[in-house]
């Protein structure tokens, strides 16, 4: 009984967490450089559309490339405004989210064929890893997933390693903590922030690509469904570390998956409780940390 309900729940949790983790890791890198990118939602939906459009032309591989490119384009606009024109990060980000939703929604209605509405998009199926997927309970959840999930298994340690163990990672963290000190050490805070935003764009695009090409299999208007904002919550909940963000993404994925589990178990609890829980948890954690104890000191400035 437990096996029958728990395994699908864990699978769903990991599946839901995968695109969230992509977006959150990108946001994390931007925030460690001191940039809060509220345009992430727009980046993700652009990635959804770019992924769908490119996949209709050339399959899933081109699809992911298209998703990354589309995300990067939105992030470039954000970067130019925030880094060079020096506009307010919060408002600029909000504008780009609205822009991304507007452009993708318009394209969806005007040129449905472009994004493969009505046709079936090529998707990446689950790849079952032998031996590992046979581990009881967690095996199939962790090792019978589409390949973007496995990409994350490499990306999380890679980003953690890069931030902690490379000169570039050290410099990026310095920019988020004290840009003037980074400049005094011979670094260019502007260039570093620009690059960090571009990375968050690529990752946001890949989040969208994963949604379309590994999960849903089609493009829908507004399908990002707040994942950009959720990713920002994940970064906070994960205390600005890659491993923390991966864990927090699982918490959110689990919360979303739990509504089905609760239904199948016949629990009378309202599923919205589980939808709201991760956000409440994030707020409690923030309050417990006295606001921004773990946050980069120059975040948003």
């Amino acid at each position: 009984m437990l096996e029958l309900t728990l395994v699908p729940f864990l699978e769903a949790a990991v599946r839901t967490a995968t695109p969230l983790a992509f977006a959150a890791l990108g946001e994390l890198v931007a925030e460690r450089a001191g940039v809060i990118n509220l345009g992430l939602e727009g980046t993700i939906i652009a990635g959804c559309l770019g992924g769908a459009a490119a996949a209709t032309l050339g399959g899933t591989a081109l699809g992911f490339a298209g998703a990354a490119t589309a995300g990067l384009l939105v992030a470039l606009v954000f970067a130019v405004f925030v880094v060079h024109v020096k506009t307010d990060q919060i408002i600029t980000g909000t504008a780009l989210t609205v822009l991304g939703l507007g452009i993708t929604g318009s394209i969806y209605h005007l040129w449905p064929a472009l994004v493969g509405v009505g046709t079936t998009l090529p998707t990446t199926g689950s790849v079952r890893i032998p031996v590992l997927s046979a581990i009881p309970l967690v095996g199939s959840a962790l090792f019978s997933q589409p390949w973007p999930t496995y990409a994350l298994y490499l990306l999380v340690p890679a980003i953690a390693w890069w931030l902690a163990r490379t000169q570039a990672g050290l410099g990026l963290r310095a920019v988020g903590e004290h840009p003037a000190a980074a400049a005094a050490a011979g670094l260019s805070p502007q260039r570093i922030r620009f690059a960090a935003i571009c990375f968050s764009g690529v990752m946001g695009g890949l989040c969208g690509g994963t949604l379309v090409l590994a999960q849903v299999g089609s493009f829908n208007e507004g399908m990002s469904a707040g994942r950009g904002f959720i990713a920002i919550a994940i970064v906070v909940l994960g205390r600005w570390t890659p491993w923390g963000a991966a864990g927090a993404a699982l918490v959110f994925g689990g919360a979303f998956a739990f509504q089905y589990l609760a239904q199948s178990l016949g629990l009378g609890w309202p599923y919205q409780l589980f939808l709201a829980m991760p956000y409440v948890l994030t707020l409690i954690l923030l309050a417990a940390q006295r606001g921004r104890a773990a946050a980069p000191a120059y975040l948003g400035r």
Binding site: I91, T92, A95, V98, G102, F229, L275, A276, G291, R292
Partner: protein
């Protein structure tokens, strides 16, 4: 061209289009736009108007559904008060988190938006659901809880009048009163306001949070009382976010918010008409919203840079 005609027809082509489409959509934008404007004026980055609106809608609906027998003379003021209190409490959480724990309101208000969305989703499937338990919505309000229309045969309702009064009142308070002056001073230069003026910025931002939330909550009450007459899950199609553009395009001037709210209301109404009659998606309006916002931002920076240049 066809799209443009459809747009015009939908937004301003007839008195019905203007009064019943444009102004009805402008009403929540006006109230939430004012909520954002007063917050930004004081340097409070409240981007949680969406959640505060939802709480206002829940609170006003609860009043309307709990005591349906109330006469309109009591019911409507009670709904207005409940909506304002609901929004104010939601904003008050963000204010409390900021002042007690130093949590940035940008992050806390985003979180609270999602919590509010979950809360309304539960409300319309739980305690406030209609008795057949089929649809995720409440029962329709009693006649007394349906806000009066401003003109016969049109759908513009009391909410618009409240919004216009609120805008004029806010303009008057901001420009003519000592309290409003302190709000503007803290927003424009918190350090000078404290150092040269001895203003208690902490107490002031608390009050601004509450007023901002109350206005957004009022928008929620106005939507359920004036438009839907019931509580729905999707009570706001992102008014809280569009309101940021509404407020900034008006350069945070409450009188200007009246105009920009009508402008964005017309965009939405025209957009809906374009979609119906010319096949141009309504969502294209968001492109205009976003580019307007980006242009306003860039222009403000350009002005600031030029001012610096002039002074050397």
């Amino acid at each position: 061209m066809e799209a443009f005609i459809a747009f015009w027809d939908g937004a301003a082509g007839s008195s019905y289009a203007f009064w019943s489409a444009t102004l009805v959509r402008a009403t929540p934008l006006l109230l939430v736009g004012l909520a954002v404007a007063v917050a930004f004026r004081a340097g409070v980055l409240n981007i949680g108007a969406e959640g505060q609106l939802i709480l206002g809608a829940i609170a006003a609906s609860s009043v309307a559904l709990a005591i349906p027998a109330l006469p309109a003379m009591v019911m409507i003021p009670a709904m207005i008060a409940a909506g304002a209190v609901g929004g104010a409490v939601w904003a008050g959480i963000a204010a409390w988190l900021r002042h007690r724990f130093g949590v940035l309101e940008v992050i806390s208000t985003i979180m609270l938006n999602f919590v509010a969305a979950a809360l309304v989703s539960w409300m319309v499937r739980g305690p406030l659901q209609e008795p057949t338990k089929v649809y995720p919505m409440s029962v329709s309000f009693s006649e007394a809880a349906r806000w009066p229309f401003l003109l016969d045969g049109q759908r513009t309702h009391l909410g618009l009048a409240l919004g216009v009064v609120a805008a004029l009142l806010m303009w008057f308070v901001l420009t003519q009163s000592a309290a409003g002056f302190r709000v503007r001073a803290v927003g424009a230069g918190a350090s000078a306001a404290e150092s040269a003026g001895g203003v208690n910025t902490r107490a002031l931002t608390w009050r601004v949070f509450v007023v901002s939330g109350a206005l957004a909550g009022l928008a929620g009450a106005s939507e359920v009382g004036g438009v839907t007459w019931a509580l729905y899950e999707g009570i706001s199609p992102g008014y809280g976010y569009t309101a940021i553009a509404v407020a900034l395009l008006a350069r945070l001037d409450p009188r200007g918010v009246v105009l920009t709210a009508v402008f964005f209301g017309a965009l939405e109404a025209g957009g809906a008409s374009m979609q119906r009659n010319a096949g141009v998606p309504a969502v294209a309006v968001q492109i205009i919203t976003a580019t307007t916002l980006l242009a306003v931002l860039a222009l403000a920076r350009w002005r600031a840079l030029r001012a610096e240049d002039v002074l050397g």
